[in-house]
Structure formats: structure tokens, C-alpha cells
């Protein structure tokens, strides 16, 4: 079943159009990576899907429901969560409070979920009352993921999860992403670290100049000559 689909999305900032009709699809249980050069519109696509930017054209369909133009809050309720690239934790709040904020819209008792999330991130569980601002870059990224998981989303949008992390942390974050995926959450991510990301993705898309350029399985794209030359550094 298709969890998330963007059809012919046209979007941008104000009068500046950046996406000129991009289509992507995420199937249940998949990890899908979007790569492309700077300015291709990768992050814009994520923000447009999530309702942070108004669409000028096209549709967003989430689990067979048209959610085009719905605000982020509605997306979150339906089971789509988004982790921005930077500033993605509440740094003056504690780890625990960050997770509580992730569960803001839940009216039920989310203690059990919190335990599950802590189990996935033992680093965080070790010090729930530490202020997020004191965490290292990698730990912050973990906390950002953890926060997004509090709502038990069906699909997780990740905007460059490995950006500005130390190499060993990159490994760690990707491993966590796979772990999250195995628990049944579909992942759509934008990555600069294309080789690595495609390596663990079921499928991938290549965007260029605000349009679809290529698509295929993660492995297929990795072995594609054009992708290799242009985006993977030969």
C-alpha cells in the first residue's frame, strides 16, 4: 500500500517557484531517499509535503486521503512526522520534556510509548532530566528522532539527518533510522550523504532543478553511471 504520495507538486517561497511538478511515492515499510544537487528543491519538497509551504499545484495523498494544503498539525495527527535539519530540539527543555512535547496531541497515556522510545535510545534514557541544549550534535539528532516517534507515525520525514555530524555519529544515526524502519515506520529522507543513504534505502529519487530526474531502487541508483558521476563523486 502507498503510504505517502506527492503528485506533480509545484511550490516555492513567495513568488519564487522552486518545485515545478515533482512526484514521489513511499510504500508501506519503505525507506526512500531523495538526493540531488544543492538547490534541487529537496528540502522544499519535504516542507511542501508536510504543509509548511503552500502548494501552488499538485496533490499530497497520505494513506489514500488527500491532505493537500493541510497544516502541519493535521499531518501530525494523521501519522506523518517531520524532523527538520537544524534546530530540531527544544534546547531549554529537558530530554523528557522534549518527548512530552512530541506527544502533545496525544490525549491517551503515552507512558508506554515513552518507554518504548527510551528503549530505542538508551543514551537518552540514561538522563531524562538533562537539558537538550547540553547534548552533543549526535545526541540531539537522536532526541529529534525520538521526539518524532512519540506519536507512533506511519511515515517519518527526515531532512538531512546526518548533516553536520561526526562520521562515527553518521553511522549511528543511520543505524537508528534502519531500526526505526524495521519497527514498521516508513521513512522519507533527504540526504547529502547520498552513497550511504542510498545504500540502506529501498528506493531513491534524484531531483534536479525542481524536477524529477531519475528514480529507482537504492542499489540501482548507486550503480547508475549518471548518478555515480554527478552525485556520488565518481
Amino acid at each position: 500500500m502507498t503510504v505517502l504520495e506527492a503528485r506533480e507538486v509545484v511550490s516555492g517561497y513567495g513568488e519564487v517557484e522552486i518545485l515545478h511538478g515533482v512526484s514521489i511515492k513511499v510504500e508501506e515499510g519503505e525507506v526512500v531517499t531523495i538526493i540531488g544537487p544543492n538547490g534541487a528543491g529537496k528540502s522544499t519538497l519535504m516542507k511542501s509535503i508536510f504543509g509548511l509551504l503552500p502548494l501552488k499545484g499538485g496533490r499530497v495523498v497520505f494513506r489514500e486521503e488527500d491532505v493537500t494544503g493541510r497544516p502541519p498539525q493535521a499531518m501530525v495527527r494523521k501519522g506523518m512526522c517531520y524532523v527538520p535539519q537544524s534546530d530540531n530540539v527544544f534546547s531549554s527543555l529537558t530530554i523528557q520534556e522534549n518527548l512530552e512535547m512530541g506527544a502533545f496531541i496525544r490525549r491517551d497515556n503515552y507512558r508506554a510509548r515513552m518507554e518504548e522510545v527510551y528503549a530505542l535510545f538508551p543514551d537518552l534514557a540514561a538522563r531524562p532530566h538533562e537539558r537538550a541544549g547540553k547534548l552533543s550534535g549526535g545526541q540531539r539528532q537522536m532526541l529529534a528522532l525520538a521526539r518524532a516517534l512519540m506519536l507512533e507515525p506511519r511515515v517519518l520525514l527526515l531532512d538531512e539527518p546526518s548533516a553536520s555530524l561526526a562520521p562515527n555519529m553518521v553511522e549511528h544515526v543511520f543505524a537508528k533510522i534502519l531500526e526505526i524502519n524495521r519497527s514498521g515506520v516508513a521513512i522519507l529522507m533527504v540526504e547529502q550523504n547520498a552513497r550511504h543513504a542510498l545504500g540502506l534505502s529501498h528506493r531513491g529519487y534524484v531531483l534536479a532543478m525542481g524536477q524529477n530526474r531519475l528514480e529507482g531502487s537504492g542499489e540501482g541508483l548507486l550503480n547508475n553511471d549518471e548518478v555515480g558521476k554527478l552525485y556520488l563523486g565518481g
Binding site: 516555492g12 517561497y13 513567495g14 544543492n38 538547490g39 528543491g41 516542507k47
Partner: protein, 378 residues
């Protein structure tokens, strides 16, 4: 005609009809009617000077001055102290008293020159005050300046009251010289002063219009639209903002000088937040910030509105009459809110400015969602 022009036309004609109609009805004679209109237009001209000063600060540069009354007050007292003769009584104590109005006779200069010198000094002192406030407050967030200016206004009022030897405390200054007062008989003097006020307003208007179109004015607008990009192109933002703030304050200082000579007497209570600051903001918002014509039109419409509601007062039932002035206050506050909600560009907000304003908002939105300002995507 588009909707905006219709509204402008309706607003101006309604105010004009109200002022002319009711005052004609109330006046005992044609002379009384003309005299009323003269005073009305003079007051509008004085308020328009303040509104122009605010437009240089807020409309052009986005500087947020909630203490207009401070500069109004400084200008009014400065020119009064310079043009008045020294105190001749031990019960009336004030500094200065340079007697510029009469004392320049031996140099072959008349009272008008003295008035002009007084007004220029008012401008200089107001500008200096603005400059001193700019140093701590203008570099920081916009709202810090607003609070600092409220503070200055309050502190100046307290100083005027507490330091009794400075400007004669709460009893205030009287007998402020009026330029060219010996030209005509006292009852006709208001026509002379109308001419003086209008000429000064006109000169300031021309000066601002010119400077707005100069390279200097273009930098100011660039700062308002996009501070980061302007800074990146090598302009010293702080310096330009300070200059605009100081220039606006100088204009307000001149307004104060024109006001005090028109009134002939000032006391600390003259300088209330309501008449010194709130109503001038209402004028600029109604007229359309960024537009000098709008500032003047706004002064006309708002003061006209104030006058009409004042003229209606005696015709109201007694129970209501006593409270009318507060209803007028209320309406001025509502006016600001309604204009912001329904016509954010005021009566004269030009289309070009609308789009510039929109772009700024778009940039802001773009920044908010984490994208760079100019280049699409990172």
C-alpha cells in the same frame, strides 16, 4: 476608480463636510466660521509636521518611536526658552530667555528670524536627544526603542515638573513670542500664523520628498525591506537608522516649536501621551505609512474626525456630553486597530509599497521556515 480611492474620497469628503457643515451651523457669523476653519487648518498643519517626522522614522526606516511627545516637548520648550525674554519675576523661573524674538532688532533682524532660529535650535536639540537614545536602543530589537522612547517622554515630563527652575515647573511658560505679531491686529494674527505653519509644513514636505528620492533615501528603504541584504552590500545599517531617527526627531522638534508659538503658552501637562504620541500614530496609520502625502492627509482626516466629534458634543444629551471626549479617545484607538486589520496601507498606501511590503513578509516567512532569504534553497 478602485476601492482604495473611493474610500479615500469618501473619508476626506465626509470629514470636510462634517467640519464645514457643523462649524457653519454653530458659527454666529461668517467671520467666526472662517476663523474656526483657520485655526482648524493651522492645527492640522502642525500635526502633519509630526506625522511627517514619524513617517521618516517608521514609514521609511521601520523605526518604532512611541515617545513622539518627548521630541515634541523638547522642541516646544527649546524654542520657547530661546525666543522668550528672561524672567523678570522671582516667581517665574526658567533657564535661557535669550529673547531671540525681540532682541535681534539692533542687528537688523526681525521677529521672524528669531522664530526661525528658535525652531532650528529646537530641531538640533531634539535631534541630539534622539541621537543619545539611538546609541543604546537603536542597535537592538525594534521594540527596545519603543520602550526607551516611552521612557524618555516620561522622564522629560518629570524633569519639567520637578526641576522648578528649568522651565517654571507645572506653571509652565507663558507669553511665548509669536513671529510677525505686529504685522496685523491681534484678532487677525491667526491668518498670519496659518501661513507660517503651512509654509513650514510645505518646506519640510519638499525636503523629505527630495531626500527620499536621493541615494540616502533609497538606502533607508532598502534597510526597511531587507536589512540583511543591505548590510551585506556594505551599508552601515546602524548609522543609517540613526540618521533617519535623528532626522525624524528634528522634524518633530520643529513641530514643537511651531506648536508653542501658536499656543503662546505651554505647561508639562500639554505633552500628554495621547496628543503627543497616540494621535500622531493614528494619523500616520490612517494616511498610510511610507507616504508623505498620506501623513498629511492622515493628519487632516484624524484631526477632522476629532474636531467633528468635538463639534457634535454640545448637541448631545447632557449625560453623554460629559463623557464624549473619552468616546473620542476610544474611537482613535479603534481607528488604529481597524486600519491595521482592514487597510494596513492606510488611505494613501501606494501599490508599489504594497508589493515591497509583501516581499519583506515573504522573506520573513522564508526565514521562518528555514530557507535563505534570496537564493532559493540552500
Amino acid at each position: 476608480m478602485d476601492k482604495g480611492r473611493v474610500i479615500t474620497f469618501l473619508a476626506v469628503s465626509a470629514i470636510t463636510a462634517g467640519v464645514v457643515g457643523i462649524s457653519a451651523n454653530d458659527a454666529q457669523s461668517l467671520g467666526g466660521f472662517i476663523s474656526f476653519l483657520t485655526v482648524f487648518i493651522t492645527t492640522v498643519a502642525i500635526f502633519a509636521i509630526f506625522a511627517l517626522g514619524l513617517n521618516v522614522q517608521w514609514g521609511y526606516t521601520g523605526i518604532f518611536n512611541f515617545g513622539i511627545v518627548a521630541f515634541f516637548m523638547v522642541g516646544a520648550y527649546t524654542s520657547a526658552l530661546l525666543t522668550k525674554e528672561p524672567s523678570s519675576s522671582q516667581y517665574v523661573r526658567y533657564v535661557g530667555g535669550l529673547n531671540l524674538a525681540e532682541g535681534l532688532g539692533p542687528l537688523g533682524l526681525d521677529g521672524l528670524t528669531g522664530f526661525v532660529l528658535g525652531a532650528l535650535a529646537a530641531a538640533v536639540v531634539s535631534g541630539l536627544v534622539a541621537f543619545l537614545i539611538a546609541i543604546p536602543a537603536l542597535r537592538l530589537r525594534e521594540d527596545y526603542l519603543a520602550i526607551a522612547t516611552i521612557g524618555v517622554a516620561e522622564v522629560f515630563r518629570r524633569i519639567a515638573i520637578e526641576e522648578e527652575g528649568l522651565v517654571n515647573g507645572t506653571r509652565g511658560l507663558t507669553g511665548i513670542p509669536r513671529p510677525l505679531h505686529d504685522l496685523v491686529s491681534p484678532p487677525d494674527y491667526k491668518y498670519v500664523y496659518l501661513a507660517i505653519a503651512v509654509v513650514i509644513l510645505f518646506l519640510i514636505f519638499i525636503a523629505i520628498e527630495r531626500s527620499a528620492r536621493s541615494p540616502w533615501g533609497r538606502v533607508l528603504k532598502a534597510i526597511r525591506e531587507d536589512e540583511l541584504t543591505t548590510a551585506a552590500s556594505g551599508k552601515n545599517i546602524f548609522s543609517f537608522r540613526t540618521q533617519a531617527f535623528v532626522l525624524g526627531a528634528m522634524i518633530m522638534g520643529i513641530g514643537g516649536a511651531v506648536y508653542s508659538a501658536n499656543q503662546g503658552a505651554i505647561v508639562p501637562d500639554t505633552f500628554s501621551h495621547f496628543f503627543g504620541t497616540f494621535i500622531i500614530w493614528a494619523m500616520l496609520m490612517v494616511g498610510g505609512s511610507g507616504s508623505n502625502r498620506g501623513a498629511i492627509l492622515g493628519a487632516y482626516v484624524v484631526w477632522g474626525f476629532w474636531t467633528v466629534t468635538g463639534l457634535v458634543q454640545p448637541h448631545l444629551p447632557e449625560a453623554l456630553e460629559a463623557r464624549t471626549s473619552y468616546i473620542r479617545d476610544l474611537l482613535i484607538g479603534l481607528l488604529i486597530i481597524v486600519v491595521l486589520l482592514l487597510r494596513p496601507n492606510g488611505l494613501m498606501g501606494e501599490e508599489r509599497r504594497v508589493s515591497l511590503f509583501m516581499r519583506r513578509e515573504t522573506n520573513r516567512e522564508a526565514r521562518r521556515v528555514g530557507a535563505p532569504t534570496r537564493s532559493p534553497e540552500e
